[in-house]
Subunit: 343 residues, 2 copies
Amino acid sequence: MTKKVTINDIAKAANTSTATVSRVLNNPDYPVKESLRTKVMEAIEQLNYVPNLVGKQLKTNTSNEIGVIIPNISNPYYTLLISGLEYVIRQSEKYILLCNTNGDPELERKYLEYLYQKQVRGMIISSINPDVEYLRFLQKNHVQIVAFEQDLDLDCTKINFDYYRGGFLAAEHLIKRGHRDIGFISAPLSRHSRRKVYEGFQACLNQYGIKEQKEYIKIGSDQQEISGEMFEYQNGKNLASQLLSEKKLPTSIFCINDMTAFGVIQQLQNNGLKIPEDVAVVGFDNIDMCEIVNPSLTTIDQSTFEMGRLAAEALMYSMKNTSAAPTNNLLQPTLIERQSTNG
Amino acid sequence: MTKKVTINDIAKAANTSTATVSRVLNNPDYPVKESLRTKVMEAIEQLNYVPNLVGKQLKTNTSNEIGVIIPNISNPYYTLLISGLEYVIRQSEKYILLCNTNGDPELERKYLEYLYQKQVRGMIISSINPDVEYLRFLQKNHVQIVAFEQDLDLDCTKINFDYYRGGFLAAEHLIKRGHRDIGFISAPLSRHSRRKVYEGFQACLNQYGIKEQKEYIKIGSDQQEISGEMFEYQNGKNLASQLLSEKKLPTSIFCINDMTAFGVIQQLQNNGLKIPEDVAVVGFDNIDMCEIVNPSLTTIDQSTFEMGRLAAEALMYSMKNTSAAPTNNLLQPTLIERQSTNG
DNA sequence: CTGAAAGCGCTAACAG
DNA sequence: CTGTTAGCGCTTTCAG
């Protein structure tokens, strides 16, 4: 068990002052006589000196950590986002302090406080029900905030995805392929993003002079929403069943997300229908499984990784230019065409 | 923009000393006259004082962060692990400093150094090719290490999973259901864990006096191993194809993981075979999708969340009892029986 | 019950 | 080119 060796020990060993050691350590360009410099280096080497970042941080009142707040680390959407953040943050020689709130507002608040106490100066927040008032307090105290996919009443840089346009694109794709009977299957429209998708879908039908047929619109009922993929998948199966019991089927279906689409396809196939020949299907998200399933799934891509990159870059920028005005970024969807609409 | 308020400001405002403020803040039982205590509290409230953890940390030379090193945050296995860790670590009022190495040994080393410089005293390491020598250095310097799923030449607490037994259980399940022609489909046996699974599988056949039939054993060739689910799935499909071209099929197949099993099932079904009637299939991992697919997949569960909990508990223990001997933990697999073998 | 003072490890004027 | 020194914000003896 070695004892902690500090910059003082190095100074003594090299017969110099801590100032010089510090300079050798942090300031390569600072003029230090070569012989002294090497003596310091040798001492560092020999004593196995490792700088204490806590001392440094207290003195310089800076932090090389970025707080990231997300609701659910088990959701691939967020891990992809984190990968995008990391890509940028690592290049800035900074580190991510990851806070997983499990959608618990109290825990989120605790994390926020902790980050602030840790003197973290930049945060990327992608959470539920964020405490705007506390966020304002943070901003007043020199904390830069980037809000990811949130509709906050806060003057900060925001990264959002154009769900409306995503819904529009999906519908347009089907229309351009000749479909006029278009269904929509979704989990409850309790989330803002889902409502936007649906609105975009409706707007597109409207624009092309196609009437939305109520019997083709199946939206899950509120009560049951558990979390996760399982629910989406099951919901897709259930609602597809309901659709099958109608007198007449649409020639195509747009699903609120990929997992729902998988459920829908499964159920239709179980009933002897061919995808895309009998019914074309479009999903939303572009998760990995889309390429894997049979038929592969046409879907809307969010380029979540890119959004992560953008969020991190925006934060880095605002930390360097603390007086720059916050920006509003609306990321655009891309349609990924695959077999499920290629009939 | 407010100026930073410190413990000094509070002391002044309450007409007392920083010592008293610190005591009010950290030591509820310390005898402080009630009137003074409330005066301090009021000052804290009024000035919006937030303690600076960096100062505290420097003074007390403690850290409330736990370093967690994993190779890939996009892999659900690791996020589940992290959830398990969090569950415990949060209860200890500590925080996770998450380091995602992307399987890059250099990056891993950098993270390790950073954590040490940050005075982190406990780390949970689940990585590739860890630098044992540096880990030894850390241990000498009072850092507690728990190694997760690794075969390290290091005297530290280890959490491992009994892959061998998992392979054994899977084979035994098929044998007990009357199968004698049992196939095995896998990605290359380049990883230790995969080899163990295969060995367990072989040992079980052996113990029950069943001959392993080479033509039923399909193991992917080395070169192509990209990362991720896609590969496993494709590999399953490819190898199932090869199997179908043999003169004779096994009545059951054990797959190295669930994604591989999905590929195998897909390919067999595409060729008109019924699962489990014609061929029973067992996977390994118990990912969410197992319940979703049709038929649902019998598999081996690793209870990764539990392993995370255990790892974190072990770490917390060793940090409290720094002289306690490291332990070796071997977690046991569970067979989850579903439709794919229930013919 | 309370306060003065030292000092954790480091950096950055400032003086030489 | 180098060293002295003050002090970041906090806790904790020690003395009263």
